[in-house]
């Protein structure tokens, strides 16, 4: 009996016969959900590094260790403002594409990309002005690795934005109902932004 199809039961299926959808593209777009899960995992790397940083900080009697050269606060603060502002700017692009405004998308994405580039330049400029190197002491090492790792993410974010801009040249590539690339780039950018805020508090303000 097992493994055979009971005709009475099989009949139940006929309700559905006419609504059977095409085979492979049938599931809804899960890419955004996937990206969220990925960012969740990604944030665990940062969380791990942050906790490591806080542990180093807690174990040392004074932090930064005595003899660490002073850091400037103005430049990073300006950088922070730029990055936070860019998060609001990029959201305009999302609003624009939902109205099918590809031109608006391009404008806002371009501005965001430029702000991101300025942030990276500022970061490099700060590195060049610092009086300590990667291996000066534990504080210096954590500083460079954390900001550098975050900078790498900003760089990737800028690349994503540029990729969207490249694709947006083609008319109709993005539309009000099909713009995963735009949403993904925006979400990633917000993520990078949030990480920076935590990082800024940890490294500069605490």
């Amino acid at each position: 009996m097992q493994g055979t199809v009971d005709p009475n039961k099989a009949a139940l299926n006929y309700h559905n016969e006419e609504v059977v959808a095409p085979a492979h593209e049938e599931h809804p777009d899960l890419r955004l959900f996937g990206l969220l899960v990925f960012l969740g995992a990604e944030s665990m790397i940062f969380l791990g590094l942050f906790v490591a940083y806080l542990t180093f900080r807690a174990v040392y009697p004074s932090w930064p260790p005595e003899g660490t050269p002073e850091r400037e606060l103005v430049l990073p603060a300006i950088n922070t403002v730029i990055l936070i502002a860019s998060s609001f700017i990029i959201h305009n692009a999302d609003t624009a594409i939902k109205k099918n405004d590809v031109k608006g998308l391009r404008t806002w994405f371009s501005i965001t990309a430029i702000m991101g580039a300025v942030f990276l330049m500022g970061q490099l400029y700060e590195y060049s002005k610092l009086e300590f190197g990667l291996t000066t002491n534990l504080y210096a090492s954590t500083f460079y690795v954390l900001t550098g790792f975050h900078g790498l993410h900003v760089f990737l974010g800028v690349c994503l934005i540029l990729a969207v801009l490249w694709r947006a040249q083609k008319a109709g590539h993005y539309s009000d109902h099909d713009h995963f690339g735009v949403e993904a780039a925006e979400l990633y950018w917000h993520f990078v932004d949030v990480v920076w805020i935590v990082l800024f508090i940890l490294l500069y303000l605490l």
């Binding site: 097992q2 299926n13 309700h15 085979a23 049938e26 599931h27 995992a41 490591a52 990667l134 534990l138």
Partner: protein, 557 residues
Amino acid sequence: MTTQAEMQIAPSAHAHAERKWWHYFTFCEDHKVIGLQYLVTAFFFYAIGGALATAIRTELATPASDFVTPDTYNSLLTLHGTIMIFLWIIPAGAGLANYLIPLMIGARDMAFPKMNAMAFWMVPPSGIALVLSFFLESPQAGWTSYPPLSLMTGKVGEGIWIFSLLVAGTSSILGAINFLVTILKMRVPSMTIHQMPLFCWSMLATAGLILVGTPVLAGALILLAFDLLAGTSFFNPTGGGDPIVYQHMFWFYSHPAVYIMVLPLFGAISEILPVHARKPIFGYKAIAYSSLVISFLGLIVWAHHMFTSGTPAWLRMFFMITTMIIAVPTGIKVFGWLATIWGGKISFNSAMLFAMGFIAVFVIGGITGVMLAAVPFDIHVHDTYFVVAHLHYVLFGGSVFGIYAAIYHWFPKMTGRMVNETLGQIHFVLTFIGMNLTFMPMHELGLLGMNRRIAFYDARFTTLNQVATVGAYILAVSTVPFLINAVWSWVKGAKAVDNPWNALTLEWQTSSPPAIENFEVLPVLMTGPYDYGEHHSENGALPPSAEPVLTGSSSGS
């Protein structure tokens, strides 16, 4: 008795395309191809890891260091551990998950097929780099790679080790994203989460662990790489760093890694036992949710690996309690499995023998796990052969027995051919004897005072070590009947019918091997996944929990 699913009648576009052998060597996005790619690749690395283990046991056949140099010995144990964990058990679990999840939930593929293929193709380079490191300058600091030792032995090898783990970890994360999204979002519409096969539940728990744990390991490895290559001193005390921070970050991943390695097989066992015992799984929900509980608790027990290290007393107590509590959900599973087979009509085929063997040996690893959680006792046996025995009972007795059980069980589905039962049973007997002969004496060795990771030892431990070495040789021999069986049956075995075990889960309701997009038409659930039993078949009625869920217009969209 009804099958779990019955098919709708409408052809799928790709159903009649053929799968060619060379597809298995390409960047193929079909989850079934990827699943087999994972399994075969993992088994290849298992053979290498096994050869290393045999070399280790050969060295330990005598108290003196006479087979290899002590440096080489440390490379052997480092590579053995790393390969078995990151290139055998974890990828094998990922392979089973890839093959089975879409079939079990009635999906045509994983959520992100391209990413799935990418995840697989990261495994071979990672593994090949690691194996090649043996011939350059191999890592010698153990699979735990504790600094400062790992910063002092073999820079090149250590660098390769870090690279390999980062690549394997990335692969694991990408795979986990796929499992999670697929299980949560791509079940056939008639399948509620409580009608999902238990293997999917355990993969859900596993994916969660991978996503939370693996990135932290990546963080630790990045910092370790800076220490190694750029001269920083995060973990190097000479520059003011703290090696204990590395241990915390490492174990935050690597303890959950134990569950990453064993949970998929818990799931597989929960599938195999009811089918061959012809009884419903005992306590479906308890087993399903215990996976999630294990997964959660697994994240807060890591420092039990550090009871003799840099952990203060209160931390030791906290982690002792959480670790002991993990025994409760694990016990729920074991007792549930025993109750499942109790009173059944059991067919003792190779799959079932390995599944019952799994319970038998895993329970020993579970018991010693609780013992090791007790801080005062752990202080005595930490870093001794007692721990080696424990971890092999869990990872060999648990994971490897589980993988074998799964392979025997799903072999007809994967290849369309039946395995040879005689060879399978010889394989089981040799594995079971070899396993216990190898690892049982190690308990006593550890208690008596033999520390682990040593190339030469006190002569009073010789006898027990020689017993273990004989056992290891039996284990090495035991893979021969398996290999012959797998290859021969795949090519020449008797043709398998679609559902040779009369099982109810969806993967058995399609052809063997399944067509390219799995189902001619999407199945609709008619019963729960484990509705076996005389009661069901006599009445011909569906149990209340498994009433057909027809979702009308949404079923195909």
